[in-house]
Symmetry: C2
Subunit: 346 residues, 2 copies
């Protein structure tokens, strides 16, 4: 059939009705409330449907029923397991509720605002990652049209959001370093970059406060490998050497680790190190990376569930949903006590 453009326009409800010898109303009823149609007709309609391979056209249903049966998801990009899990969790939860998910990647979009507007007229609900780059006003105008919710967002905006609890794990990691006697600690990453990084830094500071210590200024670098390398450059120049690093994510920590090793610095002996995200490589580097595992899939699934609820049941919204993380103690922090540490393999 190469060369043809005919893609069997698909049978309509009229075709099914005719074939079954009933009206379209009966077919529609059979689809949505079979109990309403007499057994005999049920059979006839059923047969007609399978014979014709009928499947209702989504757009027509949407128009008539005023519901898209779809959720939109806007993420900045898909690099690393974090976003992959986010999308997977969202899609799975949406699928369980028979909702389609329309995905939009903000990265590289010349006109993200337009893409978002277009998305908003194709779905019933919208989940947006806070770091997509959409201006606050843009999110607000979207929220005015469809049920909207922000992932890893700032609860202060008033828009409902779902996020991981970041301060506590950071406090725990920092305390771990502090209680091991290390004092010259640094947080690596820019607290102003994202709400969750701000919280992680807050935990870093809180741990110091509990010890009656001041927290040094954060090392301001990008959240990727280049940032880790840059941080290494900076830190290796300092005297006396830093004793512990709480990194904003694993990418940063990994690159740092590599550079420190290359410089002959012992990790964790001389410098202890922690990451964030528990990416795959964290288990394979030496020393294995102590890090924090965010319940990303759960967060995304909760988001999809909340959106669905908002569409189906009448509940108040605007809340701030916070989900706790899990600290994974391995070797890089130099304080792994086998008793509470996490097994290397899932």
């Amino acid at each position: 059939m190469a060369g043809s453009r005919a893609h069997g326009r698909g049978a309509t409800i009229y075709a099914v009705a005719e074939r079954a010898g009933v009206s379209i109303a009966t077919v529609s009823r059979y689809l949505h409330n079979p109990a309403q149609v007499r057994e005999a007709n049920r059979q006839r309609v059923q047969r007609a449907i399978v014979e014709l391979g009928y499947e209702p056209l989504g757009a027509a249903q949407t128009l008539a029923a005023r519901s898209h049966e779809a959720l939109g998801l806007i993420v900045p990009e898909i690099t690393g397991q974090y976003y992959a899990d986010l999308i997977a969790g969202f899609e799975a939860a949406a699928g369980e509720r028979d909702l389609s998910v329309v995905l939009v990647l903000a990265a590289g979009r010349s006109d993200l605002a337009r893409a978002a507007r277009r998305l908003a007229v194709r779905v019933d609900g919208l989940a947006i990652m806070a770091s997509t780059g959409l201006p606050r006003s843009g999110v607000d105008s979207l929220a005015a049209r469809v049920a909207t919710l922000v992932l890893a967002g700032d609860p202060a905006t008033g828009i409902e959001c779902v996020r991981a609890e970041s301060a506590e794990p950071a406090r725990e990691l920092t305390t771990r370093l502090l209680s091991a006697g290390r004092r010259r600690l640094r947080f690596v990453g820019d607290p102003a970059g994202a709400i969750d990084v701000r919280d992680r830094h807050a935990g870093f500071v809180a741990a110091h406060a509990a010890y009656g210590l001041p927290a040094a200024d954060p090392v301001l670098v990008p959240f990727d490998e280049s940032g880790g390398r840059a941080a290494a450059e900076l830190l290796l120049r300092e005297i006396p050497l830093t004793e512990g690093l709480v990194c904003a994510n694993d990418l940063l920590a990994l690159a740092l680790l590599e550079r420190l090793a290359a410089a002959g610095i012992g990790v964790p002996e001389e410098i202890a190190l922690t990451g964030w995200d528990d990416i795959l490589a964290a288990r394979y580097v030496r020393p294995r990376l102590t890090t924090v595992r965010q319940p990303v899939r759960e967060i995304a699934a909760l988001a999809a569930g909340l959106l669905h609820d908002r569409l189906t049941i009448d509940r108040p919204w605007g809340g701030d949903h916070v989900i706790p993380c899990e600290v994974i103690v391995r070797d890089s922090c130099g304080t792994s006590d086998p008793g509470t540490s996490h097994p290397a393999h899932h």
Copy 2:
């Protein structure tokens, strides 16, 4: 506004027309062919649109124009960078063409066939990964409805497919080991599992043939870390020890590497090793992993482009699009010659 369910149903074309003092036809023309409408009316319509925040309802456009302006993508899951890149590449290419993408994850779907059918009535084109688990007949029936294309698929099915060239890189890697004097080589992974693994194994065999050597049987294990560990168990028991392993992917290779190191086996001295996919961890383990980088984003982007073409221009289809991969020589294969090797950092 918490508690309310009012999500401003959105202005309609009627509202815009009324506000601008023209008919809906003029508004529609303004949207699709502004040149047809007089300057004065253009202004009035434009104003009305921004004042009302009008955006055409997707479903209504779909119904009237008989086009969804959307592409569907079905992938088995999103674990690892491979699927992430696939989705990212597809979405980016679709977005450039103003097409939405509706994503379906096969993993965990109790009724994948139904999800696929539902997807097919919501999009104009469909890209399906070969390994989703959809039966051949299912794919065929989808292809009868919408433009369909298979990713990493078998060209023998007759359905258009886009895939990476797998045999050649495998042949190259194997030859590398062979030319270093290693003879007891094994392919790790099940060639029957997927079309591209079959091709990789074919390359492994071809390299042996060129040396007039028989290829040993592949080590049949799952394509994940558990498979790598299982393979290590098996291989460590063999005497004499294998000298080189061509693994079906990096996950496998990484887990194997770890187990071999734990057993005191020198890599690459005693056993040389290669992976496939060039995941992040491949650059961070020691020895750094020699592997193959697939142009996943390009493959996915090509798929989206092909689907779009099929919808817009009348071209013959049914082809088999093959894209070459890049071999990344690092340390684990024991034959890294700095001259042709790839830099460690992008």
